[in-house]
């Protein structure tokens, strides 16, 4: 009886294996045998161009797409104004990604139990989670209100459906018929040649550029993240063929948070410039630089016994981020983009001052209890810095390579390294000098995106990705004074689509 049962089980297993294999093959056939392949389908629909015309692989722009964006989402063919569109045309696109992913976090501090009861002890262990999931939902709408007046509006939700305005701006293009005079006002992405908003990867750590968001351990300056959309105005100019580009932005030092709730009385400047060179069969190579210099509050007035008053930030301190960008092509199939960064924060930020409101990222605040119980530190009058405090500084590099097999299939590989060059010390490591590598990050991401079809109407990418991230000294530890490292890995598969 047992033998029969085992045989039956094996048969069932084999049948299931065959069925699974067949399903995989069928899925692959369905995914690969569509129409010949094609980002923001709203623009594609408007102009009748395939996604691939503007995107290396959507959403990442190629040079033509960059020029289209720099022209204010115009082709400059005297058919850009809305009056030339079909009256029923509605420039709205949604994008969402159903995924399966597996996240493995190396060190998590967990409670321990004895005899079914919480015994008060702690342990460190790896936690691995996997399952089906969703990305957030984006509604992109953009285009021209009139010839040379363009707009962009991006209501975006997290995966629970909570919405905010990720990007909103109006832009005046080609003022006085010059491509060198363009201005926009609103919430927008800084002029990063390697755009994080157009990143090709989706995992938790691989879906952002670490170089754009790096903060030293214990640092309170959330305002220097060049990857976040910012509130302000921007001048932008470019040559007719877009080979030369310059931009300068003045933004609130609020990290894009709305409502004047954060450091409302401080501003940050961002400049970027680049020059492209035509190098024959290799393609067009681009070299550029960027610099962000700003200041942000470290002291918030309080009331009610220490609760920060929104928008009352004073005691501004400075910070800077600067680096070089290179976009290199080695023929039509291989591309490499490199971004470097040197970052530096004022010594007060290094000790955790700055982010006194612990904003929720959308203008709200999660800090409702008096300092210091529920909120970060506040530079109230009479505050002094701990002995040994120093201004933190660091260097980072992002190198992202692409192998473009065809407009439908792209392979992605990225390596990022963030290295502290001067630790903040002071209170960050309990009054002793911090290890020189505290907070250093190394991460790599690999993956591919395959578009089974490509038209000017919609986009679908079968997305596969793996990310691994290592950070020094920021893991939990059960032994005081002993720092541990964190290793996190994530594998993700999904169907990224927009329509």
């Amino acid at each position: 009886m047992q033998v029969l049962s085992r045989f039956h089980l094996r048969k069932v297993f084999h049948s299931a294996t065959s069925l699974f294999s067949l399903a995989l093959v069928l899925a692959s056939v369905v995914l690969t045998c569509g129409e010949p392949a094609n980002a923001l389908p709203a623009f594609a629909r408007k102009y009748g161009l395939r996604c691939s015309a503007c995107h290396e692989s959507w959403p990442m722009l190629n040079y033509f797409g960059q020029k289209f964006k720099d022209n204010g989402y115009q082709l400059m063919n005297d058919r850009d104004a809305p009056i030339w569109q079909n009256p029923s045309y509605w420039p709205v696109v949604f994008r969402i990604t159903p995924i399966w992913h597996r996240v493995s976090t190396g060190k998590v501090q967990v409670d321990t139990y004895t005899g079914g009861a919480l015994d008060g002890g702690q342990a460190i262990q790896r936690i691995t989670s996997s399952g089906f999931d969703l990305s957030g939902l984006d509604f992109h709408t953009g285009g021209t209100l009139e010839k040379n007046i363009s707009f962009y509006l991006l209501p975006s939700s997290d995966s629970t459906g909570a919405f905010h305005f990720e990007q909103v701006f109006v832009r005046f293009d080609n003022i006085a018929h010059s491509p060198w005079l363009n201005f926009k006002l609103g919430r927008f992405e800084l002029d990063n040649l390697l755009s994080e908003k157009r990143i090709l990867t989706l995992t938790g750590n691989g879906g952002i550029y670490q170089t754009y968001h790096f903060m030293p351990q214990g640092d309170g300056n959330i305002f220097g993240q060049i990857g976040d959309n910012q509130l302000g105005m921007e001048y932008m100019g470019h040559s007719v063929d877009d080979r030369t580009r310059v931009s300068a932005a003045l933004v609130s030092s609020s990290d894009g948070n709305v409502g004047l709730t954060t450091t409302a009385n401080a501003y940050t400047g961002f400049v970027a410039a680049s020059q492209a060179f035509d190098t024959g069969k290799l393609g067009v190579q681009r070299l550029g630089f960027y610099a962000m210099v700003g200041e942000a509050s470290t002291y918030y007035l309080t009331s009610g016994g220490g609760i920060p008053i929104l928008g009352s930030g004073i005691g501004n301190k400075g910070f800077s981020r600067e680096g070089f960008v290179g976009q290199f092509y080695f023929g039509p199939h291989v591309g490499l983009t490199v971004v470097t960064q040197h970052g530096s924060d004022n010594v007060w930020f290094g000790q955790g001052y700055g982010n006194a409101e612990a904003t929720d990222g959308n203008g709200g605040t999660t800090c409702t209890t008096p300092i210091p119980n529920g909120c970060p530190v506040n530079n109230v009058p009479g505050t002094t810095l701990a002995a040994g405090s120093q201004a933190p500084s660091w260097n980072g590099v992002t190198a992202e390579g692409h192998y473009i097999y065809s407009p439908q299939l792209i392979f992605i590989g990225r390596y990022e390294a963030e290295r502290m060059s001067q630790q903040a010390n002071g209170n960050i490591c309990g009054g002793v000098a911090c290890p020189s590598n505290l907070g250093n990050i190394s991460t790599y991401t690999i993956g591919f995106r395959y578009n089974p079809f490509m038209t000017s109407r919609a986009g679908l990418a079968w997305h596969n990705e793996y990310n691994w991230l290592h950070q020094d000294g920021t893991g939990p530890s059960l032994t005081p004074g002993v720092l541990t490292n964190i290793n996190t890995g994530e594998i993700l598969m999904g169907l990224d689509f927009d329509f």
Partner: protein, 292 residues
Amino acid sequence: MRTTLQKWTLLFSSAVLLALPAASSAQLSTYDIGTRLGAESHVGNLTGHAKDAALPYRRYCVGCHGPLGDGNGENAPYMQPPMYQQPRDFQLGIFKCRSTPTGTLPTDQDLYDAITRGFDRTNMPQWNALSKQERTDLVAWVKHFSPRWANEKPGTPITIPPEPEVTAERIKAGRDVFARVQCWKCHGVQGMANGPSASTLQDDLGRPIAPFNFTDGTRPKCGDTDQDIYRIFMTGLDGTPMPSFADNIKPDEAWDLVFYLRTFMAQKSKEKEIAKGLGLKPVDPNAPVAQQ
């Protein structure tokens, strides 16, 4: 035995799973039209190769011009005249913007300039963001669609004499030419594309086509320099009702006509100022030809 078979089935399935995307893409990227993939183009010091343009053509062009270059891309059905113009059918080997006489093939430089400049009032943008090599390769790719390039040589570019000084007399003379060769019949007496024949015009394929409106601020399709305008009416726009006037207009008269046409255009120009000072009136289509 059965287990081994199952393993092989799984292995095979996995292999197919991994190979299909690549195979599918390969099939699309090795698209071939006949044996003309060896077509070349020469622009300046650059030599373009059709075979190197398969990828960029597929990336940038195929949505309108179609995989066969016949203008039947997926967007073609939505580009209906008069609001849009249909994508060019490269298989015919007929091109509007040329430096060569009517009826002849354009030079490689002409095609390169067309790709670089794009065509205003159409969905064809300026592709000057592409590298020069890519554009030169695309010229070769465009040529490989039509057998004409295998059997004919491009025409010899017309000679454009040096541009003379603009004078009131020349503008008045240009007005006379405008009346004599009856440009107004299509373009209207004030260049507003509302001549008596305007609504009846068709291209060689029988599709409605509108004459150029000089007054709405748009740029002429084949370039907006004085030389470009001169070239347009001396070579004609093949495939359209716009003929070549090379046999009807002398080079000097052609310059006069260029200056007169400038007076219609929305952009500020010396010609407009002079015409304003002259109080120049539009031609009278009802007057005898000699008095127009």
